[in-house]
């Protein structure tokens, strides 16, 4: 039996999940992860791939079922219980799949706003980086972390809102997956890294020290792209906001119908009302990336001079 904390939840798990922050044993918890048999609903193909496997998705009434061929089937129940039915003995693989989309289903049931993004803390606000695979989400986050910014999330970002609609990023767990090219380009120390079974040339970096679990107010969202025909930096137009957020929804799109698409729409605009949303061309090369990171940090943490 294992106890963890992630995404603001206390977790009691029958499965070892080395990615997560360990918690003291508890007598009650927010989420129970357990082994069990799952009744297959009618499953449909999704647009989600991990390790080259395409996820299938279905529903048993309100329960959400995600099936990964030859890895595991997951069933999320009421945001409180995650049943896992493994099809492999590879523990690393099972934990990897558990702490990504499967945990995402639980967060969705809890009403969090979810994005396929990486986020870091800059000064006292949270910055979030999105983009298509390979655009540079994790690389951008890695550059900010190298410059001393704490990591908040990688890949799956969860946002919650206070009563006034103000958005906060809920820290996920202390792990960032980066490409070998990024490791070398940003001079990350190889001894601090572990190879990821996620595929070739990817490493996992665990930041040192205590992983702060307190939510951080959202300050900026960047959609990172590589398009040379667009300006280097532009503010996202109002009309583009819900669409871009939708494109970066990390779970099956069929979850967004009726009430939940309404909520997604409102939450998208709550993010836009309180945070700056940019479309940014990825800096050309690591040197320029680091330069941009330094400029951003100093602009954001500049102390106003007292002229009295």
């Amino acid at each position: 039996m294992f106890f963890y904390k992630a995404y603001g939840l206390t977790i009691f798990s029958e499965i070892e999940l080395p990615e997560l922050s360990i918690a003291e044993p508890l007598s009650s918890w927010d989420l129970h992860i357990k082994y069990g048999a799952i009744t297959f609903p009618k499953l449909k193909k999704t647009s989600i791939y991990r390790r080259g496997i395409r996820a299938l998705f279905g529903k048993n009434k309100d329960n959400l079922v995600l099936h990964w061929e030859e890895v595991a089937t997951f069933e999320a129940i009421g945001g409180k219980e995650l049943v896992v039915s493994p099809w492999t003995d590879d523990k690393n693989l099972i934990s990897l799949f558990t702490v990504s989309e499967a945990l995402g289903l639980i967060l969705f049931q809890k009403g969090y706003f979810l994005l396929h993004a990486s986020s870091v803390k800059v000064g006292d606000e949270a910055w979030c980086f999105m983009g298509s695979p390979g655009a540079g989400k994790s690389t951008t986050a890695a550059a900010f972390i190298k410059a001393g910014c704490p990591l908040l999330s990688d890949d799956l970002t969860a946002i919650t809102f206070d009563a006034s609609g103000k958005p906060y990023i809920i820290p996920a767990y202390p792990q960032l997956k980066i490409w070998e090219k990024t490791v070398n380009g940003l001079d990350y120390n190889q001894s601090d890294l572990q190879p990821v079974s996620e595929g070739i040339n990817k490493f996992s970096y665990k930041p040192d020290g205590v992983f702060d679990l307190n939510p951080v107010q959202l300050g900026a969202i960047y959609f990172i792209h590589k398009a040379k025909n667009r300006v280097a930096l532009e503010e996202l137009s109002t009309f583009a906001i819900p669409m871009e957020m939708l494109k970066n929804f990390p779970l099956p799109f069929s979850l967004l119908t009726g009430e939940s698409i309404k909520q997604h729409f409102i939450q998208s605009f709550n993010c836009a009302k309180f945070a700056k949303i940019w479309r940014k061309r990825r800096p050309d090369g690591f040197e320029l990336l680091e330069k941009w990171v330094q400029e951003s940090i100093s602009l954001n943490t500049a102390v106003p001079h007292d002229i009295s």
Binding site: T238, F239, I241, P242, M243, L256, T257, G258, E259, I261, K262, F265, I266, F269, A272, K273
Partner: protein, 88 residues
Amino acid sequence: MKYKLTSQQIASHVGEEIVILNHNKGAYYGLDEVGALVWNNLEGEPKTLEALCEAVTDEYDIDAETCRGDIELLLEDLISEKLVEITE
């Protein structure tokens, strides 16, 4: 005859613009400044075509006839997308 917003829509105001979602269809729409003015007028309570025209001509330098034609077209679009319906 009055026009009112349907229960299939939800709208968000950002600056001068409005983005509307039809959550039954899962489709998004955007309205420019003038469209937004008409929409704002419908948000409070059902309105007649005359009341909507008056709201626009008060705000913009446009003759009543052109205005009426434009608003009729806009309402037709909004009705066909099930964002607005006719009442009474």
